[in-house]
Symmetry: C2
Subunit: 148 residues, 2 copies
Amino acid sequence: MKIGELAKQSGLTAHTLRFYEKQGLISPSTRSQSNYRLYSQQDLSTAKFIKRSRTMGFSLEEVEVFLSIRADKPAHICADAKDIAQQKIIDVQQKIEELQQVLVALHKLSDACCGGGESAEFCSIIDALDDSENTVTSNTTNIQEGVV
Amino acid sequence: MKIGELAKQSGLTAHTLRFYEKQGLISPSTRSQSNYRLYSQQDLSTAKFIKRSRTMGFSLEEVEVFLSIRADKPAHICADAKDIAQQKIIDVQQKIEELQQVLVALHKLSDACCGGGESAEFCSIIDALDDSENTVTSNTTNIQEGVV
DNA sequence: TTAGACCTTAGAGTATAGTCTAAGGTCAAG
DNA sequence: CTTGACCTTAGACTATACTCTAAGGTCTAA
Ligand SMILES: [Zn+2]
Ligand SMILES: [Zn+2]
Ligand SMILES: [Zn+2]
Ligand SMILES: [Zn+2]
Protein backbone atom coordinates (compact mmCIF):
# COMPACT_ATOMS: atom_id res chain seq x y z
CA MET A 1 0.00 0.00 0.00
CA LYS A 2 1.06 3.59 -0.56
CA ILE A 3 1.70 6.07 2.22
CA GLY A 4 -1.78 7.57 2.15
CA GLU A 5 -3.34 4.20 2.71
CA LEU A 6 -0.94 3.38 5.53
CA ALA A 7 -1.74 6.74 7.06
CA LYS A 8 -5.45 6.01 6.95
CA GLN A 9 -5.07 2.53 8.39
CA SER A 10 -2.59 3.44 11.09
CA GLY A 11 -4.13 6.71 12.20
CA LEU A 12 -0.91 8.60 11.54
CA THR A 13 -0.52 11.19 8.80
CA ALA A 14 1.64 10.72 5.73
CA HIS A 15 3.74 13.62 6.96
CA THR A 16 4.29 11.94 10.29
CA LEU A 17 5.18 8.65 8.64
CA ARG A 18 7.84 10.35 6.55
CA PHE A 19 9.07 12.11 9.66
CA TYR A 20 9.29 8.78 11.52
CA GLU A 21 11.19 7.36 8.59
CA LYS A 22 13.72 10.16 8.86
CA GLN A 23 14.03 9.31 12.56
CA GLY A 24 14.71 5.70 11.67
CA LEU A 25 11.52 4.28 13.14
CA ILE A 26 9.79 2.86 10.10
CA SER A 27 10.67 2.41 6.42
CA PRO A 28 8.65 1.14 3.49
CA SER A 29 9.43 -2.43 2.45
CA THR A 30 9.88 -1.38 -1.15
CA ARG A 31 9.50 1.43 -3.61
CA SER A 32 7.41 1.44 -6.76
CA GLN A 33 8.93 2.15 -10.16
CA SER A 34 7.89 5.75 -9.70
CA ASN A 35 9.63 5.82 -6.33
CA TYR A 36 6.45 5.75 -4.28
CA ARG A 37 6.82 4.23 -0.84
CA LEU A 38 5.14 0.81 -0.69
CA TYR A 39 4.24 -0.64 2.68
CA SER A 40 3.42 -4.20 3.66
CA GLN A 41 1.07 -5.55 6.32
CA GLN A 42 4.15 -5.88 8.50
CA ASP A 43 4.77 -2.19 8.07
CA LEU A 44 1.18 -1.47 9.02
CA SER A 45 1.57 -3.40 12.22
CA THR A 46 4.78 -1.53 12.93
CA ALA A 47 3.03 1.77 12.36
CA LYS A 48 0.29 0.76 14.76
CA PHE A 49 2.91 -0.38 17.24
CA ILE A 50 4.46 3.06 17.15
CA LYS A 51 1.11 4.77 17.48
CA ARG A 52 0.16 2.67 20.47
CA SER A 53 3.51 3.27 22.11
CA ARG A 54 3.17 7.03 21.66
CA THR A 55 -0.32 6.89 23.14
CA MET A 56 1.15 5.16 26.17
CA GLY A 57 3.37 8.17 26.66
CA PHE A 58 6.64 6.80 25.34
CA SER A 59 8.98 9.15 23.52
CA LEU A 60 10.17 8.42 20.01
CA GLU A 61 13.52 7.48 21.48
CA GLU A 62 11.88 4.93 23.75
CA VAL A 63 9.74 3.66 20.91
CA GLU A 64 12.93 3.10 18.97
CA VAL A 65 14.20 0.79 21.70
CA PHE A 66 10.91 -1.11 21.77
CA LEU A 67 11.11 -1.50 18.01
CA SER A 68 14.60 -2.92 18.20
CA ILE A 69 13.47 -5.41 20.83
CA ARG A 70 10.47 -6.28 18.71
CA ALA A 71 12.66 -6.68 15.63
CA ASP A 72 14.87 -9.25 17.31
CA LYS A 73 13.21 -10.63 20.40
CA PRO A 74 15.64 -13.50 21.07
CA ALA A 75 18.46 -10.99 21.24
CA HIS A 76 16.75 -9.12 24.07
CA ILE A 77 15.49 -9.88 27.51
CA CYS A 78 12.32 -8.89 29.31
CA ALA A 79 14.27 -6.52 31.52
CA ASP A 80 15.13 -4.43 28.46
CA ALA A 81 11.48 -3.66 27.91
CA LYS A 82 10.37 -3.54 31.51
CA ASP A 83 13.09 -1.11 32.53
CA ILE A 84 11.76 1.40 30.08
CA ALA A 85 8.19 0.93 31.21
CA GLN A 86 9.16 1.18 34.87
CA GLN A 87 11.13 4.34 34.31
CA LYS A 88 8.21 5.81 32.41
CA ILE A 89 5.92 4.97 35.30
CA ILE A 90 8.24 6.78 37.67
CA ASP A 91 8.42 9.77 35.36
CA VAL A 92 4.67 9.98 34.96
CA GLN A 93 4.08 9.58 38.68
CA GLN A 94 6.49 12.37 39.43
CA LYS A 95 4.88 14.57 36.83
CA ILE A 96 1.48 13.91 38.36
CA GLU A 97 2.74 14.78 41.81
CA GLU A 98 4.23 18.01 40.55
CA LEU A 99 0.99 18.93 38.87
CA GLN A 100 -0.99 18.09 41.98
CA GLN A 101 1.15 20.46 43.98
CA VAL A 102 0.65 23.13 41.36
CA LEU A 103 -3.06 22.45 41.51
CA VAL A 104 -3.20 22.91 45.26
CA ALA A 105 -1.30 26.16 44.96
CA LEU A 106 -3.58 27.31 42.17
CA HIS A 107 -6.65 26.57 44.22
CA LYS A 108 -5.27 28.50 47.16
CA LEU A 109 -4.54 31.35 44.80
CA SER A 110 -7.84 31.31 43.01
CA ASP A 111 -10.20 30.57 45.87
CA ALA A 112 -9.28 33.72 47.74
CA CYS A 113 -10.29 35.92 44.82
CA CYS A 114 -13.88 36.99 44.36
CA GLY A 115 -13.52 36.99 40.60
CA GLY A 116 -16.07 39.75 40.37
CA GLY A 117 -16.33 42.93 38.39
CA GLU A 118 -14.82 45.13 41.05
CA SER A 119 -11.43 46.80 40.68
CA ALA A 120 -8.42 44.58 41.03
CA GLU A 121 -7.01 47.04 43.54
CA PHE A 122 -7.02 44.45 46.29
CA CYS A 123 -7.07 41.31 44.18
CA SER A 124 -5.68 38.48 46.27
CA ILE A 125 -4.28 36.73 43.23
CA ILE A 126 -2.05 39.61 42.26
CA ASP A 127 -1.17 40.18 45.91
CA ALA A 128 -0.22 36.58 46.45
CA LEU A 129 2.01 36.53 43.43
CA ASP A 130 3.72 39.63 44.77
CA ASP A 131 6.31 39.64 47.52
CA SER A 132 5.59 36.92 50.02
CA GLU A 133 6.14 39.59 52.66
CA ASN A 134 2.63 40.60 51.77
CA THR A 135 1.36 37.18 50.85
CA VAL A 136 -1.62 36.22 52.85
CA THR A 137 -1.39 32.61 53.84
CA SER A 138 -4.84 32.36 55.23
CA ASN A 139 -6.69 35.55 56.07
CA THR A 140 -5.86 39.01 57.29
CA THR A 141 -5.39 41.78 54.81
CA ASN A 142 -7.53 40.17 52.22
CA ILE A 143 -10.77 39.96 54.08
CA GLN A 144 -11.95 42.53 51.57
CA GLU A 145 -11.73 39.66 49.17
CA GLY A 146 -13.51 36.51 49.95
CA VAL A 147 -16.76 35.28 48.63
CA VAL A 148 -18.09 38.81 48.35
CA MET B 1 21.57 46.97 40.93
CA LYS B 2 23.08 45.32 37.84
CA ILE B 3 21.65 42.29 36.13
CA GLY B 4 23.85 39.81 37.97
CA GLU B 5 22.66 41.07 41.31
CA LEU B 6 19.04 40.98 40.22
CA ALA B 7 19.62 37.45 38.99
CA LYS B 8 21.00 36.42 42.35
CA GLN B 9 18.22 38.05 44.30
CA SER B 10 15.39 36.88 42.10
CA GLY B 11 16.55 33.36 41.46
CA LEU B 12 16.49 33.88 37.69
CA THR B 13 19.59 33.93 35.53
CA ALA B 14 20.89 37.03 33.78
CA HIS B 15 20.25 35.26 30.51
CA THR B 16 16.65 34.63 31.44
CA LEU B 17 16.16 38.21 32.56
CA ARG B 18 17.39 39.48 29.21
CA PHE B 19 15.13 36.96 27.52
CA TYR B 20 12.16 38.17 29.55
CA GLU B 21 13.03 41.70 28.59
CA LYS B 22 12.91 40.75 24.92
CA GLN B 23 9.49 39.22 25.60
CA GLY B 24 8.35 42.48 27.14
CA LEU B 25 7.97 41.18 30.70
CA ILE B 26 10.53 43.21 32.59
CA SER B 27 12.85 46.10 31.75
CA PRO B 28 15.53 47.83 33.78
CA SER B 29 14.50 51.19 35.21
CA THR B 30 17.60 52.84 33.83
CA ARG B 31 20.90 52.28 32.15
CA SER B 32 24.31 53.24 33.46
CA GLN B 33 26.68 55.45 31.48
CA SER B 34 28.27 52.29 30.18
CA ASN B 35 24.88 51.01 29.11
CA TYR B 36 24.60 48.44 31.87
CA ARG B 37 21.06 47.57 32.89
CA LEU B 38 20.23 49.04 36.29
CA TYR B 39 17.32 47.61 38.25
CA SER B 40 15.38 49.06 41.18
CA GLN B 41 13.73 47.35 44.13
CA GLN B 42 10.51 47.60 42.15
CA ASP B 43 12.16 45.63 39.38
CA LEU B 44 13.28 43.04 41.87
CA SER B 45 9.76 42.59 43.09
CA THR B 46 8.59 42.29 39.50
CA ALA B 47 11.22 39.65 38.82
CA LYS B 48 10.08 37.72 41.86
CA PHE B 49 6.48 38.11 40.75
CA ILE B 50 7.35 36.53 37.43
CA LYS B 51 9.29 33.74 39.08
CA ARG B 52 6.44 32.94 41.43
CA SER B 53 3.94 33.00 38.58
CA ARG B 54 6.07 30.60 36.55
CA THR B 55 6.35 28.29 39.53
CA MET B 56 2.57 28.27 39.74
CA GLY B 57 2.52 26.91 36.23
CA PHE B 58 1.54 30.03 34.33
CA SER B 59 2.96 30.55 30.87
CA LEU B 60 4.90 33.67 29.99
CA GLU B 61 1.86 34.86 28.08
CA GLU B 62 -0.30 34.51 31.16
CA VAL B 63 2.33 36.15 33.32
CA GLU B 64 2.23 39.06 30.92
CA VAL B 65 -1.47 39.52 31.62
CA PHE B 66 -0.90 39.33 35.37
CA LEU B 67 1.81 41.93 35.04
CA SER B 68 -0.46 44.28 33.17
CA ILE B 69 -3.12 43.88 35.84
CA ARG B 70 -0.50 44.47 38.51
CA ALA B 71 0.81 47.51 36.70
CA ASP B 72 -2.59 49.19 36.70
CA LYS B 73 -4.88 47.52 39.17
CA PRO B 74 -7.71 50.08 39.07
CA ALA B 75 -7.99 49.52 35.34
CA HIS B 76 -8.69 45.84 35.86
CA ILE B 77 -11.19 43.73 37.69
CA CYS B 78 -10.80 40.62 39.77
CA ALA B 79 -12.39 38.53 37.04
CA ASP B 80 -9.45 39.34 34.77
CA ALA B 81 -7.08 37.58 37.12
CA LYS B 82 -9.39 34.86 38.31
CA ASP B 83 -10.34 33.78 34.82
CA ILE B 84 -6.74 32.99 34.07
CA ALA B 85 -6.29 31.11 37.30
CA GLN B 86 -9.49 29.13 36.78
CA GLN B 87 -8.55 28.20 33.25
CA LYS B 88 -5.14 27.10 34.45
CA ILE B 89 -6.78 24.94 37.09
CA ILE B 90 -8.89 23.30 34.41
CA ASP B 91 -5.85 22.75 32.21
CA VAL B 92 -3.82 21.25 35.03
CA GLN B 93 -6.68 19.02 36.14
CA GLN B 94 -7.12 17.74 32.62
CA LYS B 95 -3.41 17.12 32.28
CA ILE B 96 -3.43 15.19 35.54
CA GLU B 97 -6.34 13.06 34.39
CA GLU B 98 -4.60 12.29 31.14
CA LEU B 99 -1.47 11.28 32.96
CA GLN B 100 -3.43 9.13 35.38
CA GLN B 101 -4.93 7.24 32.47
CA VAL B 102 -1.49 6.82 30.98
CA LEU B 103 -0.28 5.59 34.33
CA VAL B 104 -2.98 2.96 34.58
CA ALA B 105 -2.17 1.77 31.07
CA LEU B 106 1.53 1.70 31.88
CA HIS B 107 0.94 -0.37 34.98
CA LYS B 108 -1.16 -2.85 33.04
CA LEU B 109 1.61 -3.02 30.50
CA SER B 110 4.45 -3.33 32.94
CA ASP B 111 2.90 -5.59 35.56
CA ALA B 112 2.38 -8.42 33.12
CA CYS B 113 6.08 -8.58 32.28
CA CYS B 114 8.48 -10.55 34.43
CA GLY B 115 11.30 -8.14 33.74
CA GLY B 116 13.78 -10.95 34.06
CA GLY B 117 16.83 -12.00 32.15
CA GLU B 118 15.03 -14.41 29.90
CA SER B 119 14.58 -13.86 26.18
CA ALA B 120 12.00 -11.28 25.17
CA GLU B 121 10.47 -13.86 22.85
CA PHE B 122 7.18 -13.78 24.71
CA CYS B 123 7.50 -10.42 26.41
CA SER B 124 4.03 -9.18 27.23
CA ILE B 125 5.06 -5.56 26.86
CA ILE B 126 6.09 -5.96 23.26
CA ASP B 127 3.09 -8.17 22.62
CA ALA B 128 0.67 -5.67 24.11
CA LEU B 129 2.07 -2.84 22.03
CA ASP B 130 1.61 -5.02 18.96
CA ASP B 131 -1.67 -5.58 17.18
CA SER B 132 -4.52 -5.50 19.63
CA GLU B 133 -5.69 -8.69 17.93
CA ASN B 134 -3.03 -10.28 20.05
CA THR B 135 -3.24 -7.92 22.98
CA VAL B 136 -3.94 -9.70 26.18
CA THR B 137 -6.41 -7.73 28.18
CA SER B 138 -6.12 -9.82 31.29
CA ASN B 139 -4.66 -13.28 31.03
CA THR B 140 -4.50 -16.05 28.48
CA THR B 141 -1.56 -16.28 26.18
CA ASN B 142 0.76 -14.53 28.57
CA ILE B 143 0.65 -16.87 31.46
CA GLN B 144 4.23 -17.66 30.54
CA GLU B 145 4.89 -14.19 31.82
CA GLY B 146 3.82 -13.31 35.25
CA VAL B 147 5.77 -13.13 38.43
CA VAL B 148 8.00 -15.99 37.33
C1' DT C 1 48.48 47.95 34.23
C1' DT C 2 46.58 43.86 33.96
C1' DA C 3 43.76 39.92 35.43
C1' DG C 4 39.26 38.59 36.33
C1' DA C 5 34.57 39.38 36.95
C1' DC C 6 30.95 41.47 34.96
C1' DC C 7 28.43 43.67 31.31
C1' DT C 8 26.76 44.45 26.10
C1' DT C 9 24.59 42.75 21.48
C1' DA C 10 22.70 39.81 17.83
C1' DG C 11 21.81 35.63 16.80
C1' DA C 12 22.21 30.56 16.92
C1' DG C 13 21.20 26.25 19.40
C1' DT C 14 18.45 22.95 22.49
C1' DA C 15 14.58 19.94 23.36
C1' DT C 16 10.30 17.40 21.45
C1' DA C 17 7.30 16.09 17.93
C1' DG C 18 5.56 17.20 14.52
C1' DT C 19 3.41 20.37 10.61
C1' DC C 20 3.56 22.55 6.42
C1' DT C 21 5.31 24.45 1.91
C1' DA C 22 7.18 24.71 -2.69
C1' DA C 23 8.06 22.76 -6.86
C1' DG C 24 7.57 19.08 -9.24
C1' DG C 25 6.46 13.89 -10.83
C1' DT C 26 2.71 9.99 -11.38
C1' DC C 27 -1.53 7.91 -12.34
C1' DA C 28 -6.43 6.68 -13.15
C1' DA C 29 -10.70 8.34 -14.96
C1' DG C 30 -13.45 10.90 -18.10
C1' DC D 1 -5.10 14.89 -23.03
C1' DT D 2 -6.35 17.05 -19.09
C1' DT D 3 -8.02 17.23 -14.30
C1' DG D 4 -7.48 15.92 -9.68
C1' DA D 5 -5.78 13.01 -6.29
C1' DC D 6 -1.73 11.31 -4.80
C1' DC D 7 3.17 10.96 -4.51
C1' DT D 8 8.33 12.87 -4.23
C1' DT D 9 12.15 15.91 -1.96
C1' DA D 10 14.54 19.30 0.90
C1' DG D 11 13.93 22.35 4.03
C1' DA D 12 11.48 25.95 6.66
C1' DC D 13 8.22 26.74 10.41
C1' DT D 14 5.42 25.93 14.87
C1' DA D 15 5.22 25.88 19.92
C1' DT D 16 7.53 26.95 24.61
C1' DA D 17 11.08 28.58 27.36
C1' DC D 18 15.07 29.05 27.68
C1' DT D 19 20.43 28.50 27.03
C1' DC D 20 24.50 29.57 25.11
C1' DT D 21 28.08 31.73 22.03
C1' DA D 22 31.04 35.10 19.96
C1' DA D 23 33.19 39.25 20.06
C1' DG D 24 33.75 42.90 22.42
C1' DG D 25 33.35 46.79 26.27
C1' DT D 26 33.66 48.06 31.55
C1' DC D 27 35.08 48.04 36.12
C1' DT D 28 37.71 47.03 40.26
C1' DA D 29 41.37 45.60 42.99
C1' DA D 30 46.14 44.16 43.56
ZN1 LIG E 1 -12.14 40.67 44.27
ZN1 LIG F 1 -9.24 39.08 42.92
ZN1 LIG G 1 9.36 -12.20 30.84
ZN1 LIG H 1 8.46 -9.05 29.34
